[in-house]
């Protein structure tokens, strides 16, 4: 890593570690910590998804399966076996990795299962896990698992402890994403993404690489799910396995960019900042509609995500976003509302097309023929 980058990382980490103290001493609302906790949570989930589905291109709808394994792994260990929560969280990570390895061992042996079929198989596994959890008494049995109020060390409150735990998990996740991007594994995964047969012919151990990526993805999702069990405190299968988690995770990575480790982090920030403002009472459905629409627009117009655009006009977008936030706060908007508006403005600037797109005939037309004739 370059010296400058090391400084940036160090500053960000130090800054985020200082946030709880700063908020307490400034007397700001504790909700900021919850807000940031959820940001870390989504960073971890999105990065986990991206390792297998972004780098290697194995698109998955099964994020809920890994995340759910983590949540239920931790919850069952705490509630049924009285395991200390630290170990239970690690147990969640193991459960996530185990589910991932189980899927991988079956699915990656079959060459046919790639692309859309892989996506559907992961979805089937998540649905199967949902009904398994709902029907097996030991896991849940359809009644949910309430977790006891836990005592946290160093006199930390719930919110404070979860902030640090979430931050740690997010850091681990980004570390894993960064390592998987930079290492030999990352090169192998990108080769698999581009053309698996050629990659194999050139000596990339595709099976081992895919297994490693899926196991990492499952472990990170499970770890973050384990912490999230403590945040939720009342675990129910319908909430855990809802399509919301895979939807938002896919949304974040598609928006952020799937080929770089920073993509999911960017995407998580943007989607969470906007979505958080839409999740008040009665707004859940509205948020679903908005996120679905956003996903449609992004997929149709900018399939590579905004990461590439950030390189081009990141400074301009950042400046516009900061200016909008400043103006909005000056006009008396609440900070988080201003943040959401600013982020949205920056994203709109990033998503805007480069020039006026060449006119395409709509309808039953023969756009493709025209392109062929031109080229």
């Amino acid at each position: 890593m370059r010296r400058g980058a090391l400084w940036v990382v160090g500053l960000v980490v130090a800054g985020l570690l200082a946030v709880p103290t700063a908020i307490r001493s400034l007397g700001l609302p504790a909700y900021y910590l919850v807000f940031l906790y959820f940001f870390f949570f989504w960073v971890a989930q999105a990065t986990s998804w991206n390792v297998i589905s972004g780098y290697a291109g194995y698109f998955s709808f099964g994020q809920g399966a890994f995340y759910g394994a983590g949540v239920y792994g931790a919850a069952v260990l705490i509630d049924r076996h009285g395991v200390p929560y630290g170990l239970a969280i690690l147990g969640g990570a193991l459960a996530g990795a185990a589910v991932a390895c189980g899927i991988g061992l079956v699915v990656f042996r079959l060459r046919q299962i790639r692309g859309p079929v892989f996506a559907l198989v992961t979805l089937a596994v998540a649905v199967a896990l949902h009904s398994l959890v709902n029907n097996v008494r030991y896991l849940d049995g359809g009644v949910g698992i309430p977790l006891p109020k836990l005592e946290y060390p160093w006199g930390l409150s719930d919110v404070g402890f979860l902030y640090y735990a979430g931050f740690l998990v997010g850091l681990v996740a980004v570390g894993v994403g960064w390592w998987a991007y930079r290492s030999r594994l990352g090169w192998g995964l990108r080769a698999i993404h581009d053309d698996e047969r050629v990659a194999e012919g050139l000596g990339v151990p595709t099976f081992a690489h895919k297994m490693a990526a899926l196991a990492l993805s499952g472990a990170v999702a499970g770890l973050s799910g384990g912490v999230h069990a403590l945040q939720v405190r009342y675990v129910t299968a319908d909430a855990v396995f809802a399509l919301r988690v895979p939807l938002l995770v896919i949304m974040m990575c598609v928006l952020g960019g799937r080929r770089h480790w920073l993509g999911p982090v960017l995407g998580a920030g943007v989607v969470h900042a906007i979505n958080d403002r839409l999740s008040g009472p009665g707004l859940g459905q509205v948020s679903e509609v908005v996120m679905g629409l956003l996903l449609m627009v992004v997929v149709a117009t900018l399939p590579e995500g905004i990461y590439g655009r950030v390189k081009e006009r990141g400074v301009a977008a950042g400046a516009v976003g900061a200016a909008v936030i400043a103006v909005a706060t000056a006009l008396g908007t609440v900070l988080l509302d201003a943040l959401a508006i600013g982020v949205a403005a920056a994203v709109i600037l990033l998503v805007m097309p480069r020039g006026v797109p060449r006119g395409r005939r709509w309808g039953r037309g023969h756009a493709r023929d025209v392109e062929v004739a031109d080229g």
Partner: protein
Amino acid sequence: MVDLAQAAASGVLIGAFYALLALGLTLGWGFLDTIDFGHFAIIFGFGYVTYELATRGLDPLMVLLLAAPVGCLVGAGWRFLIRALHLDAARSLVFTFGVLVVFEGLSKLVWTADYRRIPIVQNPYAVGALTVGPLAFPVTQVVSFSLAVLVAVAVSLILKRTYAGKALRAAVLDEEMTRACGADVERLRLMLAAVSGATGGVAGVLVAMNFALYPNAAEQWIGLLFAAVILGGIGNPTGVVLGGMVIGVGEAVAQVLGATAVARLVGACALLVGLLLRPEGLLPTVLGRREG
């Protein structure tokens, strides 16, 4: 023994019902290169409309007659949009997923998260059953069974025997070449999309007649229906009927044997086992070759 026979019979009927829901999916995936979660939005959209009309006193069978032509229009319009956006299979998967999520959100806003079921008074068909010896066959499911088999056989005959069908199959292999041979591929695809939209509309009416509706209902069906599609061979209309029946019978038999928890897993298990044993599906895909 009678229990098992009844289970097998119900399984076959409900399997054909799955197939009617999945027909549009398999045709879209095989011939239009679209993996279409939007089809679920069509199905459940028609389901909710049926609920609204039926509770206002319209006979569900009348709605069923209306559903086919309206479904045609919806299917064609939907194809028009996908075509205009130039989406390939992978992107269509994400795009239509977004559409489904928007649909779920909207239907939560309009119809709330409560279960909606057409009252028996307005929907006498839900309780009627034909009896043959000791076995009972619910009327709605007999209707869906005959429709599914009829449509599947008709579509597969069209695809195999007519020039239009041959052109559609050729276009899966090589679109440019098929066009060069003079087939208006896009128009044929539009027609196919209209047919699959019609099956979706009809299926939606039958869903409303048979089950309670709720906004997330689609999620219960996705795994099952795609399992039927893959088991039956992608793009194979008679295959999807067989695939649906395998799953339906599996579920019903597991239920009778007392493994309720397992019964709900049959779809997923059938998909995994099917992929392991016969990755190309029970029956060949559109072209009789493996999907890459």
